[in-house]
Amino acid sequence: MKINCRIHLTLLTQHSTKKTFPITDSSMKRFAFLSLIFTLVLFYTACTEQKSSSEIDLSDWNSIDSLSRNTTVHFMMWQGSPAVNKYINSFLIPEVKKRFGIDLKISGGQGPEIVQLLMGEKQAGVNSGQVDIVWINGETFFQLRQIDGLWGPFAEQLPNAQYIDFEDPYIGIDFQQPINGMEAPWGNTQFALVYDSIKLPRPPRTLDELSRFVKSQPGTFTISNDFSGMSMLKSMLAELGSSPGSLNGPFDEQKYQTLATQLWDWINAHKPYFWKNGETFPREHTKMDQMFASGELLISYGFNEGGIEDKVLQGLFPTSTRGYAWKNGTVHNSNYLGITYNSPNRAGALQVINFMLSPEAQLVKMDVKGMNSNTVLEINRLPEEWRQKFEQATKRQYGPTMQSLEPYSIQEPAPEYMLRLFEDFRKYVIEK
């Protein structure tokens, strides 16, 4: 931040006022003029026109292949994890360079930044966009759909799409809406709760158990005011609806009202036992992870099955950390790769995405010591040799496996639930 230097000037001018200098004009004017020209030229060079993307025939992969050779592809993704960055920087980038001559450039940015960028570009009428591929999840997909920010459909036409089961509701349906090929699944994840098995041998799995838990260990549980926290609320809402599938289907205002009222009553009744007596809530789940790591919280949660393996290996979480699902189920969904509506290099984007879905790339991505992300490929559809490799892959040491959580999964409810939970959690809990 610049506060400290912004005004620093004033103090330094204090003692300089005493000095006086003779000055002349013409050479200064020349200097002034030159620097003006220099500045303008500098910025003009940045404003030159870019090429725009040609039309793509998805049925002709050979031409896509040749169009994509030796091009540059911009991929905007979240870069906050060394494990993910390592996968990208030491595997993906060199591989696409070697195979297709593609220069894959990474731009940092996640959901809100992607939406902000594409809205801005739409607004400004930019035909040749800044990025080609975006890594998104359901919330962002929902937002991008509102502004027609994605190009497609393309996903089912990719050569490697043959290994993906688009009929699987956790892949082909995102927030209760069919993806219709507008995004390609890249990873598969389930929401899980995180606890330390030494400090907390029997973690709560229902609202009643949670009620007893917060009363016996006040201050050690909270709800982050972001997507992870809202996903936790969805699990609670589904439990109040008394079945894992209670929120399936299109948004139902009446159902929401009934269940949400119960939920806010429950939270408000219990929030004196939450972290900071429920007077405030952490903004992001990363903050909860930090507090879990330092021992301030006894329970954390998040997608990627809680992201436990990685954090234990980093020395952030203790080795006794384990994960589990809510008894009535936690949200199970996929994260996806999309191509922007104004991507200047669609062929290159298709090529890269197709490679990211290849058995080879997905297997490396699964490495428990690396990115440790569940594959979206249907193992039974793979050629024999790959199937064996996937089956023989090393298992997680600390985090729960997808298989163990699967019996407790619920579908992502319609996006309106998320919108309303955000709004009402602020209105009826935070600001109350």
Binding site: K2, A32, V115, E296, I430
Partner: protein, 282 residues
């Protein structure tokens, strides 16, 4: 003296002022639903909504309170250090060391505050070792707390080093030491000299800077983002939250707050800096 003011001013206008004006106009248009790809036509609804909710006013008051407290505490602390330790601080080693904290940006300062002051932070661990507390919940609530203590402490951490340097410099440049000697020789005693000579000179020379700092803190972002609570929030945090919100249809509300904030700052600038201040060049 024939400089070309028109040329220079044009440049200044283009790079110094036009962007500011453009940003304001864009935000205004967005807040009225005139631009924006999801806009449903011109509407005062967003303004109405924001002004009605009271969150904007709350945020203004909250920001002003925290910024004001931050400046007052920083100035007091800086006065105490710079005047109390004046003779020692003139030493070469100290005058170098005092500049070090200026290299800490707000984000790093807030990171540090969390690591040191939170309930599971470094100081809490030391208190536990020393037996002052038995459970971490007993450690005082300084981070993300309801009174903004963490924010204010971090403001002080960032701002007071600057004021220490400022006061030391003004003291030298305004020859306060000589004036004090004069006052002493005229029979004044220590307290009188401080309250009636030193302090008035320091304050009159640094008044504007204090106000400017208040305005900076009012708009600070990273520190309240990391250390603040979810409600009320400081202005910049509120604006960015509204601009990045999940419900894209409500983004114009963020621009409403941005416009309101910008206009208030502009008026403040006019009030504070427009008054002709006679510059004394000794």
């Amino acid at each position: 003296m024939k400089s070309k003011p028109a040329f220079g001013l044009l440049f200044f206008f283009l790079l110094g002022l036009l962007p500011f004006a453009a940003a304001l106009v864009y935000a205004l248009l967005y807040s009225l639903g005139i631009v924006g790809i999801l806009s449903e036509g011109v509407s005062l609804a967003y303004w109405h909504q924001v002004l009605q909710s009271g969150e904007l006013l709350g945020s203004f008051l909250y920001s002003a309170l925290l910024a004001g407290t931050g400046v007052v505490l920083s100035v007091t602390l800086a006065l105490w250090i710079s005047m109390g330790l004046r003779t020692s601080l003139q030493h070469r080693f100290w005058s170098l060391l005092l500049y070090f904290p200026l290299a800490i940006p707000g984000m790093v300062a807030s990171f540090l505050s969390i690591q040191l002051l939170s309930k599971a932070g470094f100081f809490s661990r030391i208190s536990m070792k020393l037996g002052w507390i038995d459970r971490l919940q007993e450690f005082p609530d300084w981070i993300n707390d309801s009174y903004g203590i963490g924010i204010i402490l971090t403001f002080v951490l960032i701002v007071s080093p600057f004021f220490v340097i400022l006061f030391s410099n003004v003291y030298q440049n305004e020859r306060i030491a000589e004036l004090s000697t004069l006052a002493y020789s005229l029979g004044a005693h220590g307290k009188q000299v401080f309250w009636q000579v030193t302090l008035p000179i320091l304050f009159s020379k640094t008044k504007r800077i204090m106000i400017l700092y208040f305005i900076f803190l009012l708009g600070s972002y990273e520190i309240p983002l990391v250390l603040g609570q979810e409600s009320p929030q400081m202005l910049s945090v509120l604006i960015i939250r509204e601009l990045k919100q999940f419900d894209l249809k409500l983004i114009p509300e963020g621009y409403v707050v941005a416009v309101a904030y910008t206009v208030v700052i502009a008026i403040a600038a006019l009030l504070v800096f427009r008054r002709r201040e006679v510059q004394v060049h000794e």
